[in-house]
């Protein structure tokens, strides 16, 4: 501590004096974070790779041992794996696509000035704080034929008295999509709104002076400004929709007949129910590599785009 008071007369900003003890202090300060992250995040990530090469099933302790690539071979032959892969792609694509369109619309609306905007924002964003399980709870109530809103609509003569949306394969997918959109649209809007607010008002006024209509204003002023934020927001949403397990786990448990199982959900079920850690780890590694690969491809494509655009 003495070094901090050693030169009271000249005092350049602290950040410009990287003396030995300063740096020492810094390492002391970040040490707890580094230790926790190394032990409970990085070591586990590495250990999953090793674990995926082993037979390790809690329900069959006698079979434990080195497996080589057995788990991966089993995975390639696993029909549920391939189906989960297809469903994951469908789920992420549909969710992020709709969240992009509707979330952008919500952000544009909430970016305008009107009476009660603060309240409207707070209400519109409230699903952000709601957990995946609670989302399931709410939508189960809404979708259930006896408690759901359809019951009331039917008794008023709108629509017909429905069966449970979650038991029919055709309707299950869209029922899930809508429930997730309820949470996802506000998320996307929050990510975009911050950037929308940074668009200088003068630009809109200039566009008005030039006689630009709403569409033209959007394409010439708003879009170029928020384009980068949109690229990042869609990537983040895609990663999170990929990782999102809670809603699917509790609403359909991947059913009916595995038709709504994403890859991470398959991982979770293998870990929680089957307790097959070896195979679950192989699934984990595969999901991890696919996610990283897809993110890199996406970033490459979208950054290539912007170079051409500018």
């Amino acid at each position: 501590m003495s070094s901090t008071t050693a030169e009271p007369v000249r005092r350049p900003p602290a950040a410009r004096r990287p003396t030995g003890s300063r740096a020492g202090h810094a390492y002391l300060l970040i040490a707890p974070a580094v230790v926790l992250v190394l032990v409970f995040l990085f070591y586990p990530v590495l250990s999953v790779f090793w674990e995926s090469l082993r037979h390790h099933n809690l329900t069959r302790p006698l079979d434990d041992g080195f497996a080589g690539l057995d788990n991966y071979r089993a995975l390639l032959a696993d029909e549920l794996f391939w189906r989960s892969l297809r469903f994951t792609a469908q789920w992420v694509f549909v969710e992020v696509g709709l969240q992009f369109v509707l979330g952008l619309a919500l952000a544009l609306v909430l970016n305008r000035t009107f009476v009660g905007r603060g309240l409207a924002r707070a209400l519109a964003f409230s699903p952000w704080a709601v957990s995946g399980i609670l989302t399931t709870t709410i939508w189960i109530l809404l979708y259930n034929p006896t408690t759901g809103i359809g019951h009331y609509l039917a008794s008023m003569g709108i629509g017909e008295y429905g069966t449970s949306l979650l038991s029919e394969p055709d309707t299950t997918f869209w029922a899930l999509v809508i429930a997730e959109l309820w949470k996802g649209i506000p998320f996307f809007a929050i990510l975009i709104l911050a950037d929308l607010q940074s668009v200088p008002l003068e630009l809109y006024e200039a566009a008005n002076v030039d006689g630009a209509g709403p569409l033209r204003r959007f394409s010439a002023v708003t879009w170029p400004h928020i384009r980068k934020a949109v690229v990042i927001a869609t990537l983040l949403r895609a990663v999170w929709e990929f990782n999102n397990v809670d809603l699917l786990y509790t609403m359909t448990a991947g059913g009916p007949a595995g038709s709504t199982t994403t890859l991470p959900l398959y991982v979770a079920q293998t870990a929680i129910h089957d307790q097959d850690f070896g195979y679950g780890s192989a699934l984990t590694v595969t999901a991890f590599l696919l996610l990283t690969f897809a993110s890199m491809v996406y970033l490459r494509i979208s950054s290539g785009d912007s170079k051409e655009g500018k």
Partner: protein
């Protein structure tokens, strides 16, 4: 649709419009069609958001069997049943313990690291920052197996500590980065003049920076609390005995008892959301300031 008004504005000679004039122009822009473009989508969005929430409130406060669309007369019967009969009283205490512990640990460690990031230079700072950001992409589901094994080795499975540690570690990088931002916003000069007055770095921090940091601490802590409170996967994987369940796990079991008691389910849902609503009211303005893309996770 509202082109006519725009043309009006366009033909007006406005090389350097005085503020009053500009204001008038903006006011005039509010044509009929323009207002419709605002209020129609806004109403639809708010209905989509609020009707489902209202549905839960309705079922929670309505006597079983009633089909009224307004929960009147209000009954607390559902809450009593779920709080005592289904054990939500216990789950609630467990969840509070986990979320508060995770809040305290991740905020304190986040503040230490955040201070280093904001005020000190050290070799490897950028690497450290990049690693912290990268952790945000690690999916919780992928960590179930390895974390379970670590906790098993530490004899922490089926203990609330496993949840506290896992929730803290997952949230820590975000707490740290957010905290660095808040500390950076406190002028360095304040701290330096305290040091000139003879305070050590630690005293200068406590006396000068800490009071100004209060809103930041509340925000960072709220984010940590909400994320730990809402966590479901870790709780269902690491905890096996019912007296250590958290609220989301209890809720998932209520969901499992399908079709039986929707009033209890809705009441359980309201219990699950109650603490979060209070914190959300505070935290939501930080969300929109966009200082925290990482906070918008889920």
């Amino acid at each position: 649709m509202s082109l006519a008004t725009h043309d009006d504005v366009g033909q007006a000679p406005v090389p350097a419009a005085p503020p009053a004039r500009r204001h008038a122009a903006r006011k005039r822009r509010r044509s009929m069609g323009d207002r419709l473009m605002l209020w129609l989508p806004l109403t639809l969005f708010l209905l989509f958001t609020l009707v489902p929430l209202y549905w839960m409130v309705l079922f929670a406060f309505r006597p079983p069997g009633s089909t009224a669309l307004v929960p009147w007369p209000i009954t607390l019967e559902n809450f009593r049943r779920v709080w005592e009969g289904s054990g939500f009283g216990v789950y609630f205490r467990n969840s509070i313990a986990v979320a508060v512990a995770s809040l305290v640990v991740s905020t304190v460690i986040g503040m230490l690291g955040g201070y280093a990031l904001a005020r000190l230079t050290f070799r490897g700072k950028n690497v450290f920052l990049v690693i912290m950001l990268c952790t945000q992409f690690i999916p919780g589901a992928m960590m179930l197996i390895p974390l379970f094994q670590i906790f098993n080795g530490l004899y922490l499975t089926n203990s609330l500590w496993s949840l506290i540690i896992a929730d803290t570690v997952f949230h820590l990088p975000l707490s740290l980065v957010l905290m660095a931002g808040f500390i950076r916003n406190v002028p360095v000069t304040l701290e330096e003049s305290a040091q000139v007055d003879g305070c050590g770095r630690i005293r200068a921090f406590c006396a000068v920076v800490l009071p100004l940091l209060k809103p930041g601490i509340v925000a960072v802590g709220s984010f940590a609390f909400i994320s730990a409170w809402n966590n479901f996967l870790f709780a269902i994987m690491f905890i096996s005995s019912q007296d250590r369940f958290t609220v989301p796990v209890g809720l998932s079991y209520l969901l499992g008892e399908f079709g039986s008691d929707f009033g209890a389910l809705a009441a359980g849902g309201l219990i699950a959301v109650a603490p979060v609503v209070v914190l959300f009211a505070y935290v939501q303005r930080f969300l929109i300031q966009g200082l925290s893309a990482g906070a918008v996770k889920g």
